[in-house]
Structures are given as structure tokens and as C-alpha cells.
């Protein structure tokens, strides 16, 4: 895709910030830390200062209102550098959930704080190990002047660091989004140390005080679309990065008296992978642009983008480990981190099988 001037500037800015601040060393340090639920504060601060946390927040709320393609350019850097950051949960998911689902007062209360980096939010949707957003057992009850919710959520990104939780719960037979203070007495958060060191938790709600996002009732659809689209870009960035490292290794490692990249058995696999990456990246950009344009088939394109990006990242990281040989199996080499992150980012918001199946359904077969 050809980026416009604004997007190109943003791509350069994001690349600079992430090249400067984000590194696998930080990931290692957080993994070795006491609770394994942290994020890269220095990077987050840099993102706040450059406005990236407000990338989807309207200008009158202090944001940049750049759209999902631009957010995707940031996500690509997140994937490339394996950054630990609440960008997805706060700057994308919460910004869209509140921006679309909130009323004016709620938008005024929260969106500015998201843009300003004062608020970290987490989105709690799934209740089972596999992503099934319409299967919601968590229930909301009216208390007259508000609501309480009860139920159990799992796979909640950044819950341990969040100030506000955005939760799907059944209200009169339909799933709606509610906001819950993370510190509410009815909230019990159990952090789970995750495969890829991303902050993840199980969260139980037991009559927790909740506020209905009472703007657009269909906001959840937009949130799901945006989550999948952004993860697709993250996966594309990850695939590119692991591929670059693998290419570097192929051009440097010698066996049988020559560089292993000269072997046709590896060349053809690398060439095939490069084509898969090009195609997945093109699809991801196209899908994000469709979301921004409000295209009728945006959801369909996003399902395609997520399915492809997940498969491509899986292939890129698997080939990365294999082509690095024994070194690829060591914790000392970074390559394994890409495989872990690819697995996690693929699973979240629906893996390739899920997206492919929903694609077929949407196409009517």
C-alpha cells in the first residue's frame, strides 16, 4: 500500500521511537522480574509524549484521530520489537470501545486520559480457553442507579496494570460493554504468567459495581474488528523481524565450507516465506484501510488479514527456529521469543481456524 504523507510520517516516528526504546533486553528483564506482569514504562512514556497513545482518540478529546491504518503502523513496530506495552488494550481497544460505545460524558471522562497516558484500560471478553466472544455467561444486574456484574473472564491482557476494566456482560439477553474500576471490591484479578511475558490475567467479578457504556450498542463489533486488525499488523511486523534475523543468519552461518544461505533447500523456503509475508502485509494494510473507510466488507477483510497473518507468523517463526538450528532452540538467542509471541498474538481474538471459519460463514457457505 502507498502511505499518505501523514501515515508515512507516523511510520517513521513509530520506527524511531521503537528502535530507540524497545528491545528484547527489556522483555528479558521483565520476564526475570518479580511478578512477570509489567510493561515497558520507558517506551510507554515515549509513546505518550509523541501522542501515540491518542492515535485513535478524537482531536477534541486531546488525541490525533489518525485511524486504524496509522495505529497499525505502530502495531507493526510492536510486533517487530516484541514490545511489552498496553498499546493494544488501552490505545486501541479501550479507545474504540469508549469512543464508539460510550456516551458523551463517558468519552469526555476517559478518552482524554487515554491520550494523555494517565489511564490504562483492559478489555475482558473471553470466558473460555478459545475465543468465542458471543458466549458470555457474565451477567449484569440493574441496581436502579447503575449496574453490578458477576462472572469470570480469562485471557485479559494488561488486567494487572489496568485502572479500568471494560467487560462484556449480558444485559436483557444481549452482550453489552461495561466499565468497572479495577480496584472495586467485587473484582478479583489473578495474574497468569504467560508464554510470551505479556501481562495476562483471569478476572472474577462478584457483584462488582459497573457502568454501562450506553452509546452505540454495537460497539463490540467494532472492538473485535479493530483487535483482530491490529493483531494482524503486529503479526506481520513480527514475521518480518524474525525473517530479517533468519536471513542474516543464512548469510553468515557456515557449514560444509559455505554459507548455508547458498543451499537451495533453504533458499526456496526463504523465498516462499518472503512471498507469504508480502501478501499478508498487503492484506493487513488493505483490511485496516477498509475499516477506516467504513467499507461494507471490512470485517470480512479483517478476518482474512488475521487468518493470513497468523499463518505467516507461525511459518516465519517456525522457519526461524529451524534455520537457526540448535541455536534457535536456546533461550540465549532471541528467535524463540518470536515464536512465543506469534502463538499468543495468533490465539488472541480468534486464531486462523476461527477467522477462516467466520470468513466462510460471512461469505454464505
Amino acid at each position: 500500500m502507498i502511505l499518505n504523507e501523514e501515515q508515512q510520517m507516523l511510520a517513521d516516528l513509530a520506527e524511531r521511537i521503537f528502535a530507540d526504546k524497545a528491545s528484547v533486553d527489556t522483555l528479558r528483564a521483565i520476564r526475570g522480574g518479580s511478578h512477570g506482569q509489567d510493561y515497558d514504562h520507558e517506551l510507554w512514556q515515549a509513546m505518550v509524549e509523541s501522542g501515540l497513545t491518542g492515535i485513535l482518540v478524537p482531536e477534541d478529546q486531546g488525541g490525533m484521530d489518525f485511524g486504524l491504518v496509522s495505529a497499525g503502523l505502530v502495531a507493526r513496530e510492536v510486533g517487530r520489537r516484541l514490545a511489552l506495552t498496553p498499546f493494544l488494550s488501552t490505545a486501541v481497544l479501550a479507545a474504540i470501545a469508549i469512543g464508539r460505545g460510550g456516551n458523551d460524558e463517558q468519552k469526555g471522562r476517559w478518552l482524554g486520559s487515554i491520550a494523555g497516558g494517565e489511564l490504562i484500560a483492559a478489555l475482558a471478553l473471553d470466558e473460555s480457553a478459545k475465543h468465542r466472544p458471543e458466549r458470555v455467561a457474565t451477567e449484569a444486574q440493574s441496581t436502579g442507579d447503575g449496574y453490578t456484574i458477576s462472572g469470570a473472564k480469562t485471557l485479559v491482557l494488561d488486567a494487572a496494570n489496568a485502572d479500568v476494566l471494560l467487560v462484556s456482560a449480558m444485559l436483557d439477553g444481549t452482550p453489552r460493554l461495561f466499565a468497572v474500576e479495577a480496584g472495586d471490591a467485587g473484582v478479583a484479578t489473578t495474574p497468569v504468567v504467560s508464554l510470551d511475558t505479556r501481562s495476562m490475567a483471569d478476572v472474577r467479578f462478584d457483584g462488582a459495581k459497573a457502568e454501562l457504556l450506553d452509546g452505540d450498542a454495537n460497539a463490540l463489533d467494532a472492538v473485535l474488528d479493530a483487535g483482530r486488525a491490529i493483531l494482524a499488523m503486529e503479526l506481520v511486523g513480527l514475521a518480518r523481524a524474525v525473517f530479517e534475523r533468519t536471513l542474516g543468519y543464512l548469510s553468515e552461518r557456515k557449514q560444509f565450507g559455505q554459507r548455508i544461505g547458498a543451499f537451495q533447500a533453504l533458499q526456496h523456503r526463504a523465498a516462499h516465506l518472503s512471498v507469504e509475508i508480502e501478501i499478508s502485509e498487503a492484506m493487513a494494510f488493505q483490511a485496516l484501510a477498509a475499516f477506516d473507510a467504513g467499507a461494507e466488507d471490512a470485517s470480512l477483510q479483517i478476518l482474512a488479514a488475521k487468518a493470513r497473518a497468523a499463518e505467516t507468523a507461525r511459518l516465519a517463526s517456525a522457519e526461524g527456529v529451524q534455520m537457526h538450528g540448535g541455536m534457535g532452540m536456546t533461550d540465549e538467542f532471541d528467535i524463540g521469543f518470536f515464536m512465543k509471541r506469534a502463538r499468543a498474538a495468533s490465539e488472541l481474538f480468534g486464531d486462523a481456524n476461527f477467522c477462516t471459519e467466520r470468513f466462510a460463514r460471512a461469505k454464505g457457505y
Binding site: M1, I2, L247, L250, S251, Q258, R259, G261, A262, F263, Q264, Q267, H268, A270, A271, H272, S274, V275, E278, I279, S280, A282, M283, F285, Q286, Q301, L303, A304, A305, A307, R308, N353, T356, E357, F359, A360, R361, K363, G364, Y365
Partner: protein, 395 residues
């Protein structure tokens, strides 16, 4: 109204008026394609009328200069023209290797005399060209070709054998790669010449394919005398032209190849053939998954094709990208035909029945296997990507 909109309106109204309704239907088979040439016979009045009107307009070769029989369109006008043709599903009035390959080569490398002699004849559909590249021992390793052309006064004397020459038995002329310096390094001793298929010493033999069709021939040269004026470009510099045309050919193949499945909805075909379950889903879950995966890959591939085209139009070099598109596009097409066969079941086993229009499923499925061989095999494409895009070490 902008210039381009005016142009669009003009093209649209001319096409509306001049394109016969029969020529707005997709080709029922390859046999309905108009190839042109000395021996051409139209199979319908509509075909003839459409051909003659387009020739007169110069729109058989819309982007070629007017003085060479073309339509003189700018690239932007050509895009408008193509989209207007597509809008009414207009068939190509005539096409053969002269339009696809020789024309672009002559425009870039030909002498003024050659352009004037050959381009208008191509544009008017008078001469049907074929391409003499591959040889029995020069397939993927094309530059090792051995058909020789020795200089004898004002002539070359050509001896040797070509293979996979498309429709050589029906072509009037051939553009051909020949070895003019047997001692030079292999790419350096090749020349690009034009010869008449009626010359004494030329003979052809059709090759029957696994699809039962014979679109390709072997062509034999036995002391064939070709005027030296028929050399295109410099002596021993033919490889440059060959490479240019191979890239050109790959660009074309990167698009959707013609055939049964062109523009058709595989999922719909499968749904009709296999049926649906009580939820309206394709009643073969494994096939359904395969079809969905293919559709996703096809959607994504089209996106890359569009992005690549947009970059090319913005003046960015596409280069070895065309190898990526050729590789993936042809593999994708083979997958589509495999799934079509899975969906069609018993009908895919019919070879000569009326309801399958003479075994089209089976025959086109088999024909699709050649997509990843012709115009450079998938393995050659992966090799080009490895060296030209990824810059991996040489073996």
C-alpha cells in the same frame, strides 16, 4: 468534465454502439479465441464485425503509437479503455503472441523499418506470431539453447529444434532465439530473429498434452534461410530482449489465467455441486475449510497485485516482484482447480460428455498444472527471489 472523463464517455459510447452482444459473453472455450493470421476463419459474423471495427479504430493494440497501427493511448487512457472493455465484458477482438510479446519487444528494440513492417500487420490481425524459445535441452536453463544461425552472405542459415512453441502449426511467423556465436559465454552468443513459418526447411509437429489438447508444438529447422535484416537489436545481444520479454510474460501470468474458473465463484460452484447442511453450510466441512483458506489467500494475493500495480504506476520499480506474483499466482490457480475437482466429484471424471462441455473440468484442471512450469517454473521463480530480492549467497 476532466479530459479523462470525456475520454471515458467517448470510449463507452463507441463500445456500446459497436460491440455486438455476442462479443460480450465470456468465451465458452479456448476455441472461440480470435488469433488472426493468414489462414484465419471467423466462426461467426459477430466475431468478424467486432474484429473489423476494432482494427479500423486501432484499438486492437490500444497503447501502440498510431503510426504503427495502434490506438495511441496514454497509459491513463489505456486504463480507462481496459476498464470500459471489462465493464461490458467485451471479448478481445484478436490477440496472439505478436500483441503480447513481439510488439513490446519491437517497440523497445526494433529498427524503424521493422516497426513499420511488422507492428501494423500485427495490429490488423494479418499475421499470427509464435514464440521460439525453449528447446528439448534448454527449458529452465534457456540460455543453453543450441539452435544455430550461421551467417551466409545476406542470410542466416538456421538449424535446430524448438519445443513448446504455442500453436506453431497455425502461426505465420516466429520470433526466435538462436545461437549466433557458439564460442561465447552462453548468454552472450544469442540473437533474436524473425522468421517466416512458410520458409523451406521449417516443419512442425503438435504435442498432445495430458489434457488431450495440443496447444504446443515442436518446430524443426533444416537449413532455413532467414534474411539478415530480420535480426532484432544487435547481433549476439538477443538475451537482453529475451529477458525483457520473460519479465513481461510473467507480469501477464501473474494475473488470473483465462479458463473455466476465471471470475467464477468457487464456493458457489461447490455449494451447487455438494449441497448445504441444515445451517446452510457447505456439506463437506473439510472442503469448506479448504475453500475458505483458498479464498482468503486469493483475496490477499489480489491485494498484493493491486499494490504492486499502484507502485509501478507511481514510478517505483517492480523488478523481481513479478517473480513473486508469477510464483504465487500460478500455485494459487492450481489449488483452485484441485478444489474445483474435489467439488465437482463424478463430473470431474467425465472426459467427453455434453453436460461438461467435453470434459472441461478434467481438461482445464490438467492444463492448470502447466501454469507453474511455463514462463519459468516455480522453482526458477524461487531462485530469482532468493538472489534478486533476498540477496542470499550464491551456491
Amino acid at each position: 468534465m476532466g479530459d479523462m472523463e470525456a475520454f471515458r464517455a467517448e470510449v463507452r459510447s463507441w463500445l456500446e454502439e459497436n460491440c455486438p452482444p455476442e462479443m460480450r459473453q465470456p468465451l465458452a472455450s479456448d476455441k472461440e479465441h480470435v488469433w488472426g493470421g493468414r489462414q484465419w476463419e471467423f466462426s461467426s459474423e459477430a466475431q468478424r464485425v467486432w474484429f473489423e471495427r476494432m482494427v479500423e479504430k486501432g484499438w486492437t493494440a490500444p497503447a501502440w503509437p498510431v503510426e504503427y497501427g495502434g490506438g495511441g493511448m496514454t497509459p491513463a487512457e489505456h486504463d480507462v479503455f481496459k476498464s470500459e472493455m471489462k465493464r461490458i465484458n467485451a471479448r478481445s477482438p484478436v490477440s496472439n503472441f505478436g500483441f503480447w510479446m513481439l510488439g513490446p519487444a519491437l517497440l523497445k528494440f526494433g529498427s524503424e523499418e521493422q516497426k513499420r513492417e511488422h507492428l501494423p500487420a500485427i495490429a490488423r490481425g494479418e499475421i499470427r506470431w509464435c514464440q521460439g524459445y525453449s528447446e528439448p535441452n534448454a527449458g529452465s536453463d534457456l540460455a543453453s539453447l543450441k539452435t544455430s544461425a550461421e551467417i551466409d552472405g545476406d542470410h542466416f542459415v538456421v538449424n535446430g529444434r524448438k519445443i513448446w512453441t504455442s500453436y506453431a502449426d497455425r502461426a505465420d511467423k516466429m520470433f526466435c532465439l538462436v545461437r549466433t556465436d557458439p564460442d561465447a559465454k552462453k548468454q552472450a552468443g544469442i540473437s533474436f530473429i524473425l522468421l517466416d513459418m512458410e520458409s523451406p526447411g521449417v516443419s512442425t509437429r503438435p504435442i498432445q498434452l495430458i489434457s488431450g489438447e495440443s496447444p504446443f508444438c515442436e518446430t524443426f529447422f533444416d537449413d532455413v534461410r532467414v534474411p539478415r535484416d530480420n535480426l532484432v537489436g544487435e547481433l549476439n545481444q538477443g538475451w537482453t530482449i529475451a529477458k525483457y520479454l520473460l519479465t513481461h510474460e510473467r507480469d501477464n501470468i501473474g494475473g488470473e489465467p483465462p479458463g473455466l474458473l476465471k471470475g467464477r465463484d468457487l464456493a458457489k460452484m461447490a455449494l451447487e455441486a455438494v449441497g448445504a447442511d441444515e445451517n446452510g453450510r457447505l456439506d463437506d466441512p473439510m472442503l469448506r475449510a479448504d475453500v475458505a483458506r483458498l479464498e482468503i489467500d486469493a483475496m490477499a494475493f489480489r491485494t498484493l497485485v493491486e499494490h504492486t500495480r499502484a507502485k509501478a504506476e507511481a514510478g517505483e520499480g517492480v523488478g523481481a516482484r513479478s517473480a513473486m506474483l508469477k510464483y504465487y499466482g500460478t500455485e494459487l490457480n492450481k489449488r483452485r482447480y484441485n478444489l474445483m475437482m474435489d467439488a465437482m466429484g463424478g463430473q470431474g471424471l467425465e472426459w467427453e460428455s455434453e453436460r461438461t462441455h467435453g470434459g472441461r473440468y478434467a481438461r482445464e484442471w490438467l492444463r492448470s498444472k502447466g501454469n507453474s512450469i511455463e514462463g519459468g517454473t516455480s522453482e526458477i521463480m524461487l531462485g530469482i527471489i532468493s538472489s534478486a530480492v533476498l540477496e542470499l549467497p550464491k551456491g
